[in-house]
């Protein structure tokens, strides 16, 4: 049960960043690439410095640098976002192998689990509420903060305006491209941290390709959540739970077809997409300007 939280955390972190990016109208498919570079740099930082926090910061910085490449291409040069995002993933996978080559085979002490005397020892809920590693709580705090900023503050409103109608936002005098750049950078930071979570807390070593497609699941998750923070949390824990529970079900010999269970997150996303398009009249849909290039007329 406990591993559900840990399995969901990288998904939640990466998806939180992508949610903000997409809400600003930018589709960055390079999450996987930013994550894996974050993993390599995060591990490298922690291994060289001996500090998990420095490792996490290295992961964040690496993610931001990767996202700046994307911002330069899509916002600065108005290149197609889908193609750039895919290229970013391929670049990231290669780059992480290069950066991480000297760290392969090394290991570090993983991020410690919290232990609050008394509270952590409460049966069942104690371990879950008070006994996980710090990243788990950070990811939850982050998504709450994102929800608050997006829906309860003026900057959040402006950011959503850029995502829904960049021409109007521009006409009102908002710097659409700069706002989008910040959103892309936030997405990069989250993806970098999500990637760094893997070698820092989950499996404390680095191996090329260790994100193993989690970036793509995070992308699917944003769609699954129909761009809403609340649903994103639910979706992340659902995806995490499906992964873990199917492993337990197999071990218990329940005869679950494991291939089907592995495909379930994607299947669920497709179903949600169908539901969204059916309920177009009322339900929350994609940001209207998602994935479209904006070139301000000067």
């Amino acid at each position: 049960m406990l591993s559900v939280l840990a399995a969901s955390t990288p998904l939640l972190l990466a998806a939180t960043g992508e949610l903000v990016t997409e809400r600003a109208g930018v589709l960055n498919l390079g999450v996987e690439g930013m994550m894996i570079v974050g993993a390599a740099c995060g591990f490298g930082g922690a291994w060289l410095s001996g500090s998990i926090i420095i490792g996490a910061l290295c992961g964040i910085v690496a993610g931001i640098l990767m996202s700046l490449i994307f911002a330069l291409m899509t916002l600065g040069l108005a290149v197609n976002q889908v193609a750039t995002g895919l290229a970013l993933t391929i670049l990231g996978i290669g780059l992480s192998g290069l950066i991480g080559a000297r760290f392969v085979g090394e290991k570090i002490t993983p991020a410690p689990h919290l232990h609050i005397p008394g509270l952590s020892d409460i049966p069942l809920v104690g371990r879950i509420l008070f006994g996980e590693d710090g990243f788990v709580y950070l990811s939850l705090a982050l998504i709450v903060a994102v929800w608050y900023v997006l829906y309860r503050t003026r900057p959040g409103l402006i950011l959503r305006a850029c995502g829904d109608n960049h021409v109007s936002a521009h006409a009102l005098g908002y710097p659409v491209l700069r706002i989008r750049m910040y959103a892309v950078m936030f997405g990069g930071a989250c993806a970098g941290l999500a990637g760094a979570y893997l070698p820092l807390a989950y499996t404390p070593f680095f191996i090329p390709g260790m994100t193993a497609g989690r970036g793509w699941i995070a992308l699917a998750l944003v769609v699954f959540a129909s761009w809403r923070p609340g649903r994103l949390v639910a979706g992340a824990y659902l995806f995490g739970a499906v992964t873990i529970l199917q492993l337990h079900a197999q071990g218990a010999g329940l005869g679950v077809p494991s291939q089907l269970m592995s495909a379930l997150p994607y299947l669920a996303t497709v179903i949600v997409l169908v539901l969204i398009s059916r309920a177009r009249s009322g339900g929350s849909t994609a940001p209207a300007a998602l994935g479209t290039v904006f070139v301000p007329d000067r």
Binding site: G94, G97, I207, M210, A212, H248, Q250
Partner: protein
């Protein structure tokens, strides 16, 4: 990215060889195609160790080139052809999924010799080679049954293909000779490589009472989980004791160096022939890591068993083999035929599970 760099390097090497043919032309060029990065600490890493052993042995007579991260399928055909065009006379393609592409390129380049790992299709200029990993699994099964206090083994499977299934069966047949009531819990993760998922599978197995973890996936993640929880585990493909100094019992290691050296020597002598090689402990293609973290009597049992398998007096799949349905599996000459092991798609009696998709 790195693949492209490597390809460019290969192309440069080729032109370089053309320009300065005096020295390079005398050397035999040998090419390798790898599935993963050479730093994966598993499958590809071991193949590259084999290549390095080859260079050490015959470095003055040969020149090696490798392309890593070559995905299986059409992409690999291009990469294999590239090596052939660059003047490599002997090309090793080191993953099951390269079978068809290798065959195709082999037909196009009849003067180049190809060696494909773990496949079953051959041609005049295309050999196959693989290791009898089930021999190592049998020894692991003995150790696991001796060391398990709960009587429950945890097994992490990649894909339900014959190689993996024969490994599970060999493990159980051995374990049953020690403890007839031994149980195994099997979790399929549907990937060769996903450290996070492998770790989760190991946690699930331990939560359900398994105290010896074995895996047929490539990363050391499961070993780390077992170490953290104070359980025991076996490594896979390469030495993983670094990740569990107090945890690793032994590890089945692929040892390709001697084979590569032998085949390249044959090529140098002009004696290369298309062959099907399936070697095990005896020929040292499969090597056991040192037996650690176990009492002396278990260690002795493991060593004696290893010696018996090498000597040919013990075969892991000796008759009779009883399937899950209680019926005897067709078995002649004292043990299962190679073909039956290579195509195995049933569990032996005593495994409380069924093969997914069956």
């Amino acid at each position: 990215m790195r693949k492209i760099l490597a390809a460019v390097a290969a192309a440069l090497l080729a032109t370089g060889a053309g320009l300065f043919s005096a020295s390079a032309a005398d050397k035999l060029k040998v090419g390798f195609i790898y599935l993963g990065p050479i730093g994966d600490l598993g499958w590809t890493y071991q193949h590259d160790q084999g290549r390095l052993a080859l260079v050490k042995e015959l470095g003055d007579k040969i020149e090696t080139t490798y392309l890593e991260n070559v995905s299986e399928g059409p992409d690999s055909e291009r990469s294999i052809e590239q090596l052939a065009r660059a003047g490599n006379k002997l090309i090793f393609t080191t993953s099951f999924g390269y079978m068809e592409p290798t065959l195709k390129v082999a037909k196009k380049y009849p003067n180049v010799h190809f060696e494909h790992a773990t496949g079953y299709k051959r041609d005049k200029n295309m050999s196959t080679y693989s290791g009898k990993f089930y021999e190592g699994r049998y020894i692991q099964g003995l150790i696991a049954a001796k060391m398990s206090k709960s009587g429950v083994l945890g097994y992490i499977g990649s894909f339900p293909i014959p190689e993996v299934i024969s490994g599970i069966n060999a493990t159980m047949l051995a374990a049953q000779t020690i403890n007839p009531n031994i149980k195994v819990k099997i979790i399929w993760v549907n990937t060769w490589f996903d450290p996070g998922k492998e770790a989760d599978a190991a946690k699930a197995l331990i939560d359900q009472g398994a105290d010896v973890i074995m895996q047929h996936t490539d990363s050391p993640a499961a070993m780390q989980v077992a170490a953290e929880r104070g359980k025991l585990a076996f490594g896979q493909d390469s030495e993983m004791i670094k990740f569990g100094p107090k945890t690793q019992l032994t590890s089945i290691m692929d040892n390709w160096g001697p084979y590569y050296i032998e085949r390249v020597k044959a090529e140098l002598d002009g004696k290369w022939k298309s062959e099907d090689t399936w070697d095990g402990l005896k020929e040292k293609m499969v090597v056991m890591a040192p037996y650690t973290n176990m009492p002396d009597d278990v260690k002795k049992l493991a060593e004696d068993t290893e010696a018996a398998i090498k000597a040919g007096t013990l075969h892991p799949f000796k008759c009779p083999i009883i399937g899950q349905d209680g019926k005897e599996v067709e078995c002649k000459d004292g043990h299962l035929a190679d073909g039956a092991i290579l195509g195995m798609n049933f569990y032996v009696k005593g495994i409380d599970d069924k093969i997914p998709g069956k």
